[in-house]
Symmetry: C2
Subunit: 159 residues, 2 copies
């Protein structure tokens, strides 16, 4: 299939992290780091009712990632893994998903916590986080088994 | 910002659901419905290690949705809600996320269960599901509070 699908950023994500080196690798490992979202004003009506949710999914574009890699050494491991078995950013379609805490909304500005995202990242979508849809108990987490205590930060391997 | 970001499907999702009407609205409400993914063969190396995971995230393109709506009546409700407070498909960037069960992988074919996706949907990304990153307890789920027993199927409201 060669059809090209196109996206338009709906806003910008602002965070304390200006380069990949030192950025948290997941919201759960972000130690509460705070940021804010500047939603383009034309989308204001779509924010209605969002303030009732404690967490929200952000979908965003990894805009500072280097070449696509089909195998990578993840931050949480020391050996090569298939890209789709990792959350590494060097993806064919460089879309990240992060479940962050929603602290508050004022007009088109959303304050969030637990951000693992680079400052200036283009925002693609916001969805409500709902445990009924998103939280599953699973028995098997592949190579991530046993990485529970590791809390690495990102480095420059995907720049 | 007017920069256009472009995506390339990495495969096709095959499911029993050929139209929105009657399609499950979330994996958790899909009653185990089975489907299969045909990954484009150039991405085969990226599947390594994925078979260790019980669930995987699929990111995909809502390719049969009508116009963008900034407020919608969700399937689980009867009143208008802000689009970003819902998982409805009529989004500025029509990207869906579904956590499905991975039943098996043979070459470039992945068998999955709990699919809530239309047959023929373009696949954009696969990520491993990991409770440490994806499962959060939350106190507040906004308007979704109290919808626990509802199990509607989709209809034609977003065609």
């Amino acid at each position: 299939m060669t059809k090209v699908l196109s996206l338009q950023p709906i806003g910008i994500i602002h965070t304390p992290f200006v380069k990949q080196e030192g950025t948290p690798i997941q919201p759960a490992l972000a130690e509460g780091a705070e940021g804010w979202i500047e939603l383009h004003e034309q989308y204001l009506p779509a924010l209605k009712d969002l303030d009732g949710f404690e967490r929200i999914w952000l979908l965003y574009w990894f805009d500072r990632v280097g070449e696509v890699k089909l195998e990578v050494v993840p931050y949480l491991d020391t050996v090569m893994r298939g890209l789709f078995a990792t959350r590494a950013p060097a993806r064919p379609n460089p879309i990240g998903i992060s479940s962050v805490r929603l602290l508050g909304i004022e007009k088109n500005i959303l304050r969030v916590a637990d951000v693992d995202i680079l400052d200036g990242t283009p925002l693609l979508d916001i969805k409500p986080y709902c445990p009924k849809f998103d939280a599953y108990e699973v028995q098997r987490v592949g190579w991530l088994e046993g990485t529970g205590q590791k809390r690495p930060l990102a480095d420059d391997r995907f720049v």
